[in-house]
């Protein structure tokens, strides 16, 4: 069920320049079951900025009724959000969409998780859930530069973790695909979230195994009513809505 709730800020901190980790508490968390879903966040109390901001769920904790998101404060709304303090609340609609299928990989098998920049966060909950069921995880995470890297230690605690930076200041120089070409082909499936060029590169080079992609698009409603976020899914007028059919799709299901 989708819930709208005014949630309490439990903690809010800057992990890297302009990258914030926000943990919220409330009953809405009871509805969170899959990794890779997102929430729609109101960043102000008034009419401006008007629209909610879609942000992935990075991790959730049923026991504490809390969840965490990690976001980049880039534009008007996310900058306002970044000023919220621990005495305040945030208006959240969610959980929204369909996330990553944890059951695509069996216990004892290996999964490859590939994230780019601000697409990294939803892979964290996924990795935790895969590890909990006995799956071996390998993480390949791409960032612009060393100072932009976040959650390296958290991912490393769950499994093998490789970092790529575009400028080579940390880990492998280049893109996630530069790390992937040297990895042993032992994994059963690939889960990924990141910028469209990265997803396209994965689709072009790694479609021989089950490949799951989490997509982004500008949204209106976030619940499937306004047709803002559609993408083609084949011939003619067939389509999928990223907000309610996705944001995660199996490669080939939609046209990137």
């Amino acid at each position: 069920m989708i819930v709208k709730e005014t949630m309490k800020v439990l903690s809010h901190k800057e992990l890297a320049p302009a990258i914030f980790e926000l943990t919220l508490q409330g009953q809405l968390v009871e509805e969170m079951k899959q990794p890779g879903q997102f929430v729609h966040v109101k960043t102000s109390d008034g009419l401006d900025p008007l629209l909610r901001r879609p942000i992935s769920i990075c991790s959730f904790n049923q026991h504490e009724q809390s969840f965490t998101m990690i976001y980049r404060a880039g534009g008007k709304g996310t900058k306002l959000l970044s000023r919220k303090t621990e005495t305040e609340t945030v208006d959240v609609l969610g959980p929204l969409g369909n996330g990553f299928p944890v059951d695509a990989v069996e216990s004892g098998e290996t999964a490859l998780l590939v994230g780019g920049g601000i697409g990294v966060p939803p892979l964290y909950q996924l990795s935790q859930m895969l590890v909990a069921k006995g799956v071996q995880v390998i993480h390949v995470l791409g960032f612009e530069t060393k100072s932009a890297v976040f959650y390296e230690r958290e991912f490393a605690a769950l499994g093998e973790t490789y970092i790529a930076t575009v400028d080579g200041s940390h880990g492998t120089k280049g893109f996630v695909t530069d790390v992937m070409k040297d990895l042993a082909d032992s994994y059963k499936a690939i889960y990924s979230c990141g910028p469209t060029p990265m997803l396209k590169a994965l689709e072009a080079g790694y479609s021989d195994k089950p490949l799951y992609l989490s997509l982004e698009e500008r949204m209106g409603c976030g619940v499937g009513a306004c047709f803002a976020c559609v993408c083609h899914s084949g011939e003619g007028s067939s389509y999928k809505k990223i907000c309610s059919d996705g944001p995660v799709f199996r490669a080939g299901e939609v046209i990137l």
């Binding site: 069920m1 989708i2 709208k4 109101k42 009419l47 401006d48 900025p49 008007l50 629209l51 909610r52 008007k76 709304g77 609609l93 698009e217 500008r218 949204m219 209106g220 409603c221 976030g222 619940v223 499937g224 009513a225 306004c226 047709f227 803002a228 976020c229 559609v230 993408c231 083609h232 003619g236 007028s237 389509y239 309610s244």
Partner: protein, 303 residues
């Protein structure tokens, strides 16, 4: 609830709150949040004879207290709307206002003839004001003679009353209203979106793939109020007002301008519960303002 009931051509409304076309799909998504029979009526997404995919993405861009959209009338087409969407909606006790669109007069006539037969469609809303399609849409809504002609053609085949949705992208809105009144319209709905643009700070190019989009939300409320104020004094047609409504106070302001019911669009995206919330808040607000019935507010600005 009798404080809120409204009678309009073809429509016996429990209350005057109607989700606006294109902002509520065919109701399914919002039925997750509340019982749709709470609403006065529902204006469904524009329906065209054939399925349409619409425009490339990005299709929306935020603006100060508003948004631009260029969806491009994406819809599953007349056949599916009747067999699937209207059938599903018929399980709810709520009248449907079918928003119809097309590229040529024959399209409007075809959709009007067939969709007006559906038992839960109590009125048509003739969308001659969509700014986001190359043919049809707004071209029908900016030339009074063409608007009159398409209104008449639809009236001739429709088995339910016809409301014409006016475009604000004209110099003389009263002239347009009078033209469709002469064409036989039973009512007016206004306003549709205003053509606008946003540019990307880094690329310098339009954010919306279609380049321009229709502006909606609180930013357009003053324009809508002014147009309803002018038109309601110059025609005898009832007006369903819309444009930037987010709360019960806004609804009263639209009634003061001359509206007899209202539609709520963009605000559904911000708060999916906005329509039932407004419906719940209106009676107390009417009490506070000293009205026994909401219809007493209509046209107060000029009466």
């Amino acid at each position: 609830m009798s404080k809120l009931s409204i009678e309009l051509p073809g429509l016996s409304l429990k209350n005057p709150i109607i989700p606006a076309s294109g902002c509520f799909g065919f109701g399914r998504e919002y039925s997750q949040f509340y019982d749709l029979s709470k609403l006065g009526a529902i204006m469904i997404k524009a329906t065209t004879p054939e399925p349409r995919f619409g425009n490339p993405t990005p299709r929306v861009a935020e603006t100060d207290a508003g948004m631009l959209n260029a969806i491009g009338l994406q819809n599953p087409g007349l056949k599916k709307v009747i067999s699937e969407e209207l059938t599903w909606l018929s399980n709810h006790d709520v009248p449907i206002i079918a928003n119809i669109a097309g590229s040529q007069i024959e399209d409007y006539v075809k959709v009007a003839r067939e969709i007006s037969q559906a038992s839960n469609v109590h009125a048509l809303e003739l969308n001659i004001s969509c700014p986001n399609v190359k043919e049809g849409g707004i071209t029908f809504g900016t030339d009074p003679e063409v608007a009159k002609k398409v209104t008449k053609a639809v009236k001739d085949v429709s088995s339910v009353p016809v409301y014409v949705k006016l475009s604000p992208n004209v110099t003389n809105i009263v002239e347009m209203a009078k033209a469709v009144e002469a064409g036989g319209a039973d009512g007016l709905t206004m306003i549709n979106t205003l053509v606008g643009m946003r540019l990307h700070l880094k690329t310098g190019k339009p954010i919306i793939a279609n380049r321009t989009g229709g502006l909606s939300g609180p930013a357009i409320k003053p324009v809508a109020l002014r147009m309803i104020y002018e038109v309601s004094q110059q025609t005898s047609l009832p007006i369903i007002g819309m444009g930037g409504i987010t709360n019960a106070e806004d609804v009263i302001e639209f009634f003061y301008a001359g509206a007899s019911a209202v539609a709520v669009g963009t605000a559904n995206f911000v708060d999916p519960f906005v329509c039932p919330t407004i419906i719940d808040e209106l009676p107390a607000l009417l009490d506070e303002l000293g009205f026994d019935h909401i219809s007493q507010c209509t046209g107060r600005s000029w009466k």
